[in-house]
């Protein structure tokens, strides 16, 4: 298992990656200038990032990198500029939020655009999957947070019948753009925390579908990270501080801060929590990535991404098979020789939407040796058991059958003998008669 931090910036500094344990810089993936929330690790398969630069005016672009090649491997050009990007934990679906407020859902293995729907009135700023990947939470520039059930999005029939809205919940309390959303481990009773440029963080209940708490911060909040303990979260603000928000505190004001990342008041732009070792990672506008120990509030180490502002940080866990320095592509490791197909631009219409095939990747680490068991001893025991059960039903029945058959044969034998004797007698008589006549 290798845990690395990946970070990207809004100006072309590539995607930096560092080993969180040793602090060594790993591969730097080239050519990436992504918007905030535009970087996603797609399962353990590859890295994806939406791009700010527009290759051809209106269309957006999403690039894929395999884990051990710095060059972009796959380029996709969706119909519009994609702001937020996220993948489910298995890495089978990618969702993208467009500048128009549309949300796109692609199947990774085929590249097909399975669904596209109008999610928000203005640009989508962040997308988060729920813990079991069955719900999607989206935040938008228009200040709204919406919860979608992916399953229901695909259930056209039911929707037509019931005529209900597409979304499950629509939270509309933020006055300005939603900047980040996190969802805790509560399952069906999870809390959703949303941060906004209006300087508040709001805690929503998934099950009740309403606002639980409104926490006011001294400055606009750029990013959120949840403490696994559940009741507090960290909020990165534009005033270069990382605040600690408490979901269950009595005060509506969050004031405690974990620390400040820069003396010049550069904004903290992104946060990530690494469960392994309980570390909080922050990225700021001055291009520095800080790793904190939230327990002691100490800075553990820093990485420098470059001059450009860091706007995405992700903690990625990866099972490393063999030597990662090998020039072998990770697509090959996964048992297939090809990189994933580019994401398609348009939804397929009509019957063609679903061609009925789902591509399933082999389980990781499928190279485990196979074992077969020994049978000889069982064979002996079975044989012995059969012999011991001489009084068993099967042998008894067989015995009876044989007895019956034996009796029949005896009777048959008698019959034949009689026939023979009769015949002999007839022949003899004939013969006698013949000779006499």
């Amino acid at each position: 298992m290798e845990i690395s931090v990946i970070a990207s910036s809004s100006i072309d500094g590539g995607i930096g990656s560092w080993d969180i344990k040793t602090g060594t810089e790993q591969l730097r993936f080239k050519q990436c200038a992504s918007p905030a929330h535009g970087l996603a690790a797609v399962g353990e398969k590859f890295l994806a990032a939406s791009q700010l630069r527009n290759a051809s005016g209106s269309s957006g672009s999403i690039f894929f990198w395999s884990w051990n090649k710095p060059q972009v491997e796959v380029r996709s050009f969706p119909v519009e500029s994609v702001k937020a990007l996220a993948a489910n934990s298995e890495g089978t679906y990618i969702v993208g939020g467009g500048a128009s407020g549309d949300i796109f859902l692609w199947e990774v293995a085929s590249g097909k655009l399975l669904k596209k729907w109008h999610g928000h009135y203005r640009s989508v700023t962040c997308l988060v999957f729920s813990g079991d990947d069955s719900l999607l939470v989206s935040g938008s520039e228009d200040g709204s947070v919406r919860v979608w059930s992916l399953l229901r999005l695909f259930d056209d029939l039911q929707r037509q019948q019931q005529g209900s809205t597409l979304y499950e919940h629509d939270f509309n309390e933020h006055t300005t753009s939603v900047t980040d959303i996190v969802i805790d481990y509560g399952g069906c009773n999870a809390f959703i925390v949303s941060a906004s440029g209006d300087g508040t963080c709001k805690v929503w209940s998934l099950s009740k579908g309403k606002l639980l708490r409104n926490i006011i911060f001294p400055a606009a909040i750029n990013a959120l990270a949840l403490d696994p303990g559940g009741s507090i979260f960290y909020a990165a603000s534009v005033d270069s501080k990382i605040y600690v928000g408490a979901m269950n505190s009595s005060s509506d004001y969050a004031t405690q801060s974990l620390g400040s990342v820069s003396e010049q008041g550069k904004a903290v732009t992104c946060l990530a929590y690494c469960a392994d070792g309980n570390l909080l990672i922050s990225g700021s506008e001055d291009g520095v990535i800080c790793v904190w120990d939230p327990k002691s509030r100490r800075l553990v180490r820093t990485f420098s991404h470059g001059k450009g502002p860091v706007n995405n940080i992700q903690v990625v866990r990866r099972t490393v098979v063999g030597n990662s320095n090998k020039a072998q592509s990770s697509w090959k490791k996964n048992g297939s020789s090809l990189p994933p197909p580019p994401l398609e631009k348009y939804e397929r219409s009509g019957d063609n939407t679903v061609d009925g095939i789902v591509i399933v990747d082999p389980p990781p680490l499928s190279d485990v040796p196979v074992y077969s068991s020994y049978h000889s001893a069982d064979l002996i025991n079975e044989q012995v058991r059969e012999l011991q059960q001489q009084g068993s039903a099967a042998t008894e029945i067989e015995m009876e059958r044989l007895k019956l058959e034996y009796k029949k044969s005896l009777q048959m034998n008698d019959q034949w003998q009689k026939n023979y004797e009769n015949l002999l007698q007839v022949v003899m008589e004939e013969e006698l008669n013949g000779s006499s006549s």
């Binding site: 399952g187 990342v261 000889s376």
Partner: protein
């Protein structure tokens, strides 16, 4: 001599050769002996594996080696005996030796052993039992061989040599025992050495398919054959294409069979559509399963039972293909699989109006007799399909949900309902919350019917007539129980018949899964009902029978275990309903505690174990814990708000510098509510800060200084802003120096600002008192937290800060 030799204990290695020799002389038959005593053989085998008699000990090399040599000689002699029974003994002992002997011995002689076994298989004179034993022993030999990494190639070539002879045997001989041995051997080879099938793949596929289609094959063997067929694609390069080809062939074959079987029971277009999807007109259709010869004999068409057992075997084969692990990507034809299941489940034996004249009553009778088996196989196929693609079912999930719910409505047979509940569970587990919202109503309404005590006869009713049963539960419950009791008295029911609980268990498990995945979301309509239902079911399942469960035990009867399982399932579901988040407090918490408490002391061990677990889980419900936040001892501790109050007073004028938001925000401070914390905080925080400082954790100190509290922040914030402007010329230099000396990066500047601010405030006197204060702090540290010194802690901190500052 030997008889005078003493041994340490039963594990003494010197014992091994002795025991082995004894076995050889007393139990293992030899050539001269006229009869074989089979009974003794299992003793020989068990003794060998218990004492590891064939593993040659390094220390006692000569002795143990000679004993094992003798053993090997003996079984080799037996193998080549003319008598089939002795030869059989030799062969099976060879198999056991392959498993047990030392690796050196195995490695040096496996080739010889293999050839002698192979010659038995090839020899047309060999009797059946010898062939079966040879197959088994070769399988064991190859299994052992697969653990040697350096002989992969040779092993493959050995394995390849067996395949054609045994396939030939399979075609010549019709004994099921032999087929079974052969299929076992083939499965071993395909798992361990798939490359061995390189040249014989098509032949093998054809032979196996023809056996599946043979009218004589028994159902258990059918399953084994199907299992092997499912593994076979691993042998053909093991790639995506060969898997897909096999799946396509299977699905076509199944649909062809169904076209015939369902004639007159479904629209004819259904079959055509299915075939079109599987083999689109434009593309080449694959050869039928089992090659050209695999086309079905006419006899098969006439027997409904035969068709169903074949289709079931083929569906089972699909299921195994879906669930066994492949090293390549799989293209799973979900749409075809789901529509196949849909097709099968749509036929319930009733005749569509238009069709009725074309079908005779007898035909319908025959079909209806076999339909449940077919439905069961189809449901199993659906389950494995869901299991294999998990979350990627998404685009198809809605149609699967509809399929499941519509089938729930018409399905009455318990076996099939159990399968449906299993599918429901799989769906919930693989698709999570979204699925729970879709399926909840279906699960709840069906489970309520299946768990309704009124609809079931037997022991449940008996237990509710039991006066003890009425005692514990609430008034509603009592009413319910007496009602059923009255009804039960009128009905002619068998007393105390331990009936089959599996349907109820399945329903309970489905409810439990529903509660675990989505007990809180959109659950208003059903939650209350389910909670009540589960409380009553658990009560009924357990009451009056805690002790009885033990007394059943002398009967090796399944129903006892079944009862315990039912109790556990009911309790599990009940616990889920208590713990699963809901809007109100769990309504039946009291009943739950009582039940689990009694169960813990009186229940059968498994039940008692679960009850203990349940009590532990419920403890959190009655004593909700505010989890100590990871690493952050508690919110108040680290942020002395008294400081902020002090600084609030001092710094109020500065507020003008802050922006509007700050003002608004500080204006709303809710001071009194925090008073309690403050007192503790005052005394604790300076100590902590001091400790930190000693460790050189300047950063932490600075953080808490600059961001202790809202008011404080505002203060320092403002100071910072002012300071930065003032001190720009000098501060970078200083902080640079610090950075190089310590590891801290950014906060130096803030730190410095705060310090400089205090300097301005306190004047030069500060410096003089530094040492003094440091001593005080040390003292405080040694004192307890009860130190109620209300010296503004900000001061102390500042001194300390400046202290360390100067030191550095």
């Amino acid at each position: 001599m030997a008889s005078f030799e003493r041994f340490d204990d039963m594990c003494d290695n010197r014992l091994k050769p002795k025991i082995l020799r004894n076995l050889l002389s007393d139990y293992v038959p030899n050539e001269k002996q006229p009869l074989v005593d089979f009974q003794s053989l299992s003793k020989v085998v068990s003794t060998i594996s218990t004492h590891k008699l064939l593993s040659e000990d390094q220390k006692l090399q000569a002795k143990s080696k000679s004993a094992v040599d003798e053993w090997v000689e003996r079984f080799l002699a037996l193998v080549s005996s003319d008598m089939p029974d002795k030869s059989w003994v030799g062969i099976v002992l060879m198999g056991v030796t392959c498993q047990e002997c030392s690796s050196d011995r195995f490695f040096s002689s496996y080739s010889v052993w293999f050839n002698s076994l192979l010659s038995h298989i090839k020899n047309p004179e060999s009797s059946r039992i010898i062939r079966v034993a040879s197959c088994t022993s070769i399988s064991d030999l190859l299994t052992r061989l697969s653990r040697f990494a350096n002989t992969k190639k040779e092993a493959v070539s050995h394995a390849a040599k067996v395949i054609l002879p045994i396939i030939k045997l399979m075609e010549e001989d019709s004994s099921e025992a032999l087929w079974e041995g052969i299929v076992n051997l083939l499965s071993t080879i395909v798992i361990l050495f798939p490359a061995a099938f390189h040249s014989s793949y098509d032949t093998v596929e054809e032979a196996i398919a023809s056996k599946i289609f043979s009218a004589k094959t028994s159902s258990s063997l059918l399953k084994k054959l199907a299992h092997f067929l499912a593994l076979l694609p691993k042998a053909n390069k093991g790639d995506t294409a060969s898997w897909s080809l096999m799946m396509q062939k299977l699905l076509i074959s199944i649909n062809v069979h169904l076209n015939n079987f369902f004639q007159g029971l479904e629209e004819e277009t259904t079959g055509k559509k299915a075939m079109q999807r599987l083999a689109p007109p434009g593309r080449d259709a694959p050869l039928p399963l089992g090659g050209q010869n695999g086309i079905l004999d006419d006899a098969a068409w006439n027997s409904e039972q035969l068709i169903v057992s074949r289709v079931s075997a083929l569906m089972y084969c699909c299921s195994v293909m879906l669930t066994s692990s492949y090293k390549c990507k799989l293209n799973i034809p979900v749409a075809s699989l789901v529509s196949l299941v849909e097709r099968v489940l749509a036929v319930n034996g009733s005749l569509p109006k238009a069709m009725s004249p074309f079908m005779t009553g007898i035909q319908q009778e025959l079909v209806c007799a076999e339909l449940p088996t077919l439905h069961s196989s189809a449901l199993e196929l659906l389950r494995t399909t869901i299991k294999s693609i998990r979350s990627q079912l998404l685009p198809y999930a809605a149609s699967v949900v509809r399929l499941v719910s519509s089938y729930f409505k018409k399905c009455l047979l318990p076996e099939l309902r159990i399968k449906l509940y299993t599918i429901t569970k799989t769906l919930l587990k693989s698709m999570g919350l979204g699925m729970a919202m879709q399926l909840a109503n279906e699960v709840v309404s069906n489970a309520s019917v299946d768990l309704d005590p009124k609809t079931v006869q037997g022991s449940d009713v008996v237990s509710s007539t039991n006066p003890r049963a009425v005692l514990k539960a609430g008034s509603k419950k009592r009413k319910q129980s007496t009602n059923t009791g009255v009804e039960a008295e009128n009905a002619a029911f068998e007393v105390g018949v331990p009936h089959n609980h599996s349907l109820k268990i399945a329903a309970l498990e489905a409810l439990e899964t529903l509660l675990t995945t989505g007990g809180a979301l959109r659950s208003d309509s059903w939650r209350e009902r389910v909670d009540k239902l589960l409380m009553m079911t658990a009560g009924n399942a357990c009451e009056g029978r805690w002790a009885n469960a033990e007394t059943y035990h002398h009967l090796p009867n399944k129903s006892t275990a079944d009862l315990v399982e039912f109790q556990v399932a009911a309790l599990r579901a009940f616990l889920a309903s208590l713990v699963s988040p809901s809007r109100a407090r769990p309504a039946y918490l009291a009943e739950g505690f009582e039940l689990f408490q009694t169960g813990k002391t009186e229940g059968e061990m498994k039940v008692a174990g679960f009850c203990a677990h349940a009590l532990m889980s419920l403890e959190v419900v009655i004593h909700p814990r505010a989890l100590p936040l990871d690493g952050l001892p508690s919110l108040g501790d680290q942020f002395p708000e008294s400081n902020s109050l002090a600084s609030l007073k001092h710094n109020t004028p500065n507020l003008n510098n802050g922006d509007n938001l700050f003002k608004e925000w500080t204006a709303n401070v809710d001071v009194p509510s925090n008073n309690e914390i403050l007192r503790n905080v005052d005394s604790i925080s300076p100590l902590q800060e001091a400790k930190r400082l000693k460790r050189g954790n300047d950063l932490a100190t600075v953080d808490s200084l600059s961001g202790q509290d809202h008011t404080d922040i505002v203060g320092s914030e403002n100071v910072q802003q002012a300071d930065v402007r003032k001190k720009v010329p000098e501060s970078p230099k200083e902080s640079l120096g610090h950075v190089s000396e310590r590891d801290d990066m950014v906060p130096e500047e803030v730190y410095r600002q705060v310090v400089s601010e205090t300097r301005e405030g306190e004047g030069l006197a500060v410096k003089d008192s530094i040492m003094e204060e440091a001593v005080v702090v040390k003292k405080r540290e040694s004192l307890d937290e009860s130190d109620d010194d209300s010296i503004p802690s900000l001061k102390a901190d500042d001194y300390l800060s400046s202290d360390s500052d100067i030191e550095s």
